[in-house]
């Protein structure tokens, strides 16, 4: 009973979140000193209109047609990403990155957002027909390639945040495909090795742990060696890779570890966001009344830190409400994915859930300082046209999947 309500109510959570987003963007524009956010909610309302249209169209498109068109969409998205690398421009928070596609100075959108959805569809098309989930790392290679190409293209922009999202959707979909947990662990291990390399001790512990796991899981010898060597290489390459990160990315990672390193510059974002949220208390300072936001202490209050505005003005209760809406949305998507009548639809919705969850966890975690500052938007709440339209498309598609499951005649 409740479960049924959950998936049929999925669009409602989306609508509520979009409404909350517009409200917060209105408040984000109410500042003492003119800021980029003033009046931004009107433009976002325009994007909402486009998003609703996109959702309706996505709802009308049969998953069969979508599945058929997926390769073309995927290749198109990759071409756009390539084009962005050549003629892309920077904007907003990531002024130095080439993430925007613009024609004649008019910014059309960020192809990375579209690429996320295209990658999900392509991966769903790849994993769907399989009778058995991949057993070995070798069998995972096609999936890795599908995600890897846009991942690298986005990473070259460079856009650390979107890169994270690709990793998130990959693991969500492989998990949904039933890939062995240890295999997922081994897949992720080189990246974890990279993270552990910040100190010799932690990395030593990590390598010992990995060796034990490899002996326990016992993959093919060659694969096991590849994983082990890969971890070793990542640990050794860590320094080199660190040097290749853009300075702002280094600073963000550093100030995540200790915001007080440079409280006026890099740590500023984290500190001011925590102050904004913390000073909101349980009930908040009142709608549009947040002083941190009004007086411009809170940076990027309409994009990356829109959730801090919510925390400051509506307090812990407001945060609880918003997080509940997000949780309900993700849970609805899981249920839709579970009840989908064909594997392509199921994987596609799982991938969408993976994208959204990664965005939510990284963005919201960042505002309270439990995640490093990687500039990725919060679905439905942050200002930004491309991402909102992509999210609407995704929800429209999920709604179609849910509709087909309800009217397929199967009963669960």
């Amino acid at each position: 009973m409740f479960g049924k309500a959950l998936d049929s109510a999925m669009p409602l959570w989306g609508v509520l979140l979009v409404a909350l987003g517009l409200t917060l963007l209105f408040s984000a524009g109410v500042t003492e000193v003119p800021s980029a956010a003033s009046g931004i909610w009107k433009r976002q309302a325009l994007w909402v209109g486009i998003g609703v249209a996109a959702a309706v169209i996505a709802f009308r498109v049969s998953p069969r047609i979508l599945e058929w068109a997926t390769p073309a969409v995927y290749v198109g998205a990759l071409l756009l990403l390539g084009l962005t690398l050549i003629i892309g421009t920077g904007a907003g928070t990531a002024l130095g990155a080439k993430s925007w596609l613009a024609i004649g100075g008019v910014r059309l959108g960020q192809p990375a957002e579209l690429a996320k959805l295209a990658t999900v569809l392509m991966l769903a098309r790849h994993l769907g027909p399989k009778r058995e989930p991949p057993f070995t790392l070798t069998q995972l290679l096609p999936s890795l390639a599908i995600v890897g190409i846009p991942f690298v293209l986005v990473g070259l922009q460079p856009d650390l945040g979107s890169g994270l999202v690709f990793a998130g959707l990959l693991f969500a979909m492989l998990f949904w495909a039933g890939v062995n947990h240890w295999l997922l662990f081994l897949l992720a291990s080189p990246f974890l090795s990279l993270l552990m390399a910040f100190s010799t001790l932690s990395w030593g512990v990590w390598i010992v742990l990995l060796t034990v796991v490899l002996l326990w899981v016992r993959p093919y010898v060659v694969e096991g060696l590849v994983v082990w060597v890969g971890n070793l290489a990542m640990g050794l390459l860590a320094l080199e890779l660190w040097g290749r990160l853009a300075p702002y990315q280094q600073n963000r990672l550093l100030s995540f570890l200790n915001p007080e390193i440079d409280p006026r510059a890099t740590g500023w974002h984290i500190i001011q966001s925590k102050v904004a949220i913390g000073s909101g208390g349980i009930l908040g300072k009142g709608f549009t009344e947040g002083t941190q936001k009004r007086l411009a202490f809170l940076p990027e209050q309409h994009t990356d830190f829109v959730f801090s505005v919510l925390g400051e003005e509506l307090g812990f209760l407001g945060v609880l409400g918003a997080l509940t809406l997000f949780a309900l949305l993700i849970l609805s998507l899981i249920r839709i994915s579970q009840r989908a009548v064909d594997p392509f639809s199921s994987f596609a919705v799982a991938g969408v859930a993976g994208i959204l969850l990664t965005h939510i966890v990284v963005n919201v975690g960042m505002t309270v300082g439990i995640m490093p500052i990687v500039g990725i938007p919060l679905p439905f709440l942050s200002y930004g046209g491309s991402f909102l339209v992509v999210c609407c498309l995704a929800l429209g598609m999920a709604a179609r999947v849910a509709y087909e499951a309800r009217h397929s005649g199967y009963t669960s």
Partner: protein, 624 residues
């Protein structure tokens, strides 16, 4: 195992749900930690973020004359400061505003230095800008968002040069003063008194600054006042009512010889209240308020006449003949002489003391005179002998007791201490135990030698002569500091006779002054030897002689003779006692004759042997 397996899929979905719920629980807990547990701490931090305490300067107290006329007031003014995000942007803004502000390189350097120290505050660029400048700056605002123009009351002295030395002026506190903590409650930018009453009564005049909170944005730009409930009102400074009579003070300035250097002090002898205090040349304190225009300052400081120098309390002159009254008072108190006493050696134009001849100013001599006559004619020979009768020790002792070695105690800053030896030790130290002789007594007896006095201290002494019982409080403009009372120690009868002898000095010449015939003025002229040019002229007088209400002393540099000063002083006395209509500031038909009086050049203090071995030139003074 594949997607098609419903049971496997359901299990994975459950695992997925649990993971999602766990993730959201962690996020919720993170918010709980900040918003519920840490709320108070972060609320304080957010208040500190947005509120900045700003001192509200207390309005400085007024300074008025004895009738309440305002001598120092606050008028609306404007100050200009700049908010900059970096030193470079500050420099750019200064460049852009240069045509309006016209800062010199020194000012620029100090502005940049101030910015380096407190980059988050607006840097004061200039105080006391005129409304014209403000409106010119306002036009530049679109290009200079960091421009802050605040209303900043400006100190104004409506009577400018008339009361300059008396009232003083204010200036921004220096860093040195801030470090030493000389001014309680002062902070960077506080205006403190720099001279006169402004400095002496600075603590009372300054009041206590209040605090208000302003709301600022992330770039420290002021958004608005945070509201009244968070404001601590400033405590305005006290109004200081002085004893100055503004009308008299103005008259003094207008009657003082044009272009001359010198000073005038008028005092009520009964209370010690200073009625007028003037030093010439004067200056306009209004140009010194706050930031001084450097060229203005240079011209003031480099002026040959030193207008900033207060000649009434800072300049020391040999007291000359007016000091003879002190000698007379000492001798009377010790009972050495009475008014009819004559000296053993009558005046034949000089006095032989061992191997030296001390001259009287009058070559023809005064004959055998009594004390009264000696005072009247200012006979040097008489006082040489009176000094010897007193003895050097007695003279120094009594002179010190009468306050000639101390500050007058007037409530003005930087009064110069007069030079007067407290004992013979002084000579021993200065010339060596055998380097001097008791001949110094003769010089001291006629107000020469190791004795230089400030005008205010001499007026204080004449105040004692003029006061009913020979005592007077220290001269003061507001209140006496300590009850540093000196007394002549004379009987009322002796005192009356002493005054009478001073009346005789002036009486002889007052016949011509018909309009003040009913005014008995007692006074003494004097001529102070000046090695650098023409002698300085003294005149100290009080009136009415039988019931003195005012004592006025004046010194005019290079006046050559005290009789030139006398009309100035008598006009001031007449103005005070007879009213504004009685006299005109400049002489004319009104003239006053006083006897000629001069002082011989002081005898050089040299050991006898050295003198004999010298050029053989007779060490006698020039005689007029």
């Amino acid at each position: 195992m594949s997607w098609g397996d419903r049971h496997q899929a359901a299990r994975r979905a459950d695992v997925g749900r649990i993971m999602v719920l766990a993730t959201f629980t962690i996020l919720t807990l993170a918010f709980f930690r900040l918003q519920v547990i840490g709320a108070d701490r972060y609320r304080v931090q957010s208040e500190e973020n947005r509120l900045r305490p700003v001192p509200v300067p207390a309005p400085r107290g007024l300074i008025t004359d004895r009738h309440g006329a305002v001598l120092a007031e606050n008028v609306p003014g404007y100050s200009v400061s700049l908010h900059a995000v970096s030193g470079d942007s500050l420099r750019t803004m200064l460049d852009r505003l240069q045509p309006i502000l016209r800062l010199d390189s020194v000012e620029r350097a100090s502005i940049l230095e101030r910015y380096r120290r407190t980059p988050s505050e607006a840097v004061p660029v200039r105080r006391n800008v005129s409304f014209d400048v403000v409106s010119a700056l306002e036009e530049q605002r679109p290009w200079n968002p960091g421009l802050v123009i605040q209303s900043d009351p400006k100190r104004r002295y409506p009577f400018a040069s008339t009361t300059a030395h008396l009232v003083g002026y204010v200036g921004e506190i220096s860093e040195e003063e801030l470090r030493t903590g000389a001014h309680r409650g002062a902070r960077l930018g506080t205006l403190v008194g720099r001279d006169g009453i402004e400095q002496f009564y600075d603590a009372e005049l300054r009041g206590r600054d209040g605090v208000k909170y302003i709301e600022v944005d992330a770039l420290n730009r002021t958004v608005r006042d945070a509201g009244l409930e968070s404001t601590l009102e400033p405590e305005p400074g006290r109004t200081i009512r002085t004893t100055i009579d503004l009308g008299l003070q103005q008259f003094v300035e207008s009657t003082f010889p044009l272009g001359r250097r010198g000073a005038v002090v008028a005092m009520d002898p009964r209370s010690g209240e200073v009625l007028a205090l003037f030093s010439a040349p004067s200056f306009d304190p209004n140009v010194l308020v706050g930031g001084v225009d450097p060229t203005e300052w240079r011209s003031l400081a480099a002026d040959r006449d030193f207008p900033l120098f207060n000649r009434a309390i800072q300049a020391r002159y040999p007291p000359a003949s007016p000091f003879k009254l002190a000698i007379a008072a000492m001798a009377l108190r010790r009972g050495i002489v009475s008014f009819n006493s004559r000296m053993t050696v009558p005046c034949r134009g000089g006095f032989q003391y061992y191997n030296r001849y001390f001259r009287c100013w009058r070559v023809e001599g005064h004959g055998n005179v009594t004390l009264t006559e000696a005072i009247q004619y200012s006979c040097d020979v008489y006082f040489y002998q009176l000094g010897l009768k007193l003895g050097l020790t007695g003279l120094l002792q009594d002179g010190t007791a009468l306050g000639f070695g101390n500050l007058s105690g007037v409530d003005l800053p930087s009064e110069t201490e007069p030079i007067f030896p407290r004992s013979t030790e002084y000579y021993n130290r200065r010339y060596g135990p055998r380097g001097w002789t008791s001949a110094v007594t003769l010089n001291l007896a006629i107000g020469q030698g190791e004795n230089t006095q400030t005008l205010i201290n001499v007026v204080r002494f004449y105040g004692m002569l003029a006061s009913p019982h020979g005592t007077t409080a220290a001269p003061h403009l507001v209140a006496t500091r300590e009850s540093q009372q000196h007394s002549l120690g004379l009987s009322d009868r002796d005192l009356a006779d002493l005054r009478a002898s001073l009346v005789a000095v002036v009486d002889r010449g007052t016949a011509a002054a018909a309009q003040i015939a009913d005014l008995k003025i007692a006074g003494k002229t004097g001529t102070a030897q000046n090695p650098h040019g023409p002698d300085h002229g003294w005149f100290v007088a009080f009136a009415p002689a039988d019931d003195p209400q005012i004592v006025v002393g004046s010194i005019v540099e290079f006046a050559e003779h005290g009789s030139r000063v006398a009309p100035v002083v008598t006009r001031i006395i007449a103005r005070y006692l007879l009213g504004a209509d009685a006299v005109r500031p400049r002489g004319g038909e009104y003239r006053l004759e006083v006897p000629a009086d001069s002082a011989p050049e002081p005898i050089p203090i040299l050991p006898d042997t050295a003198l004999l071995r010298g050029t053989g030139r007779e060490p006698a003074g020039r005689v007029r």
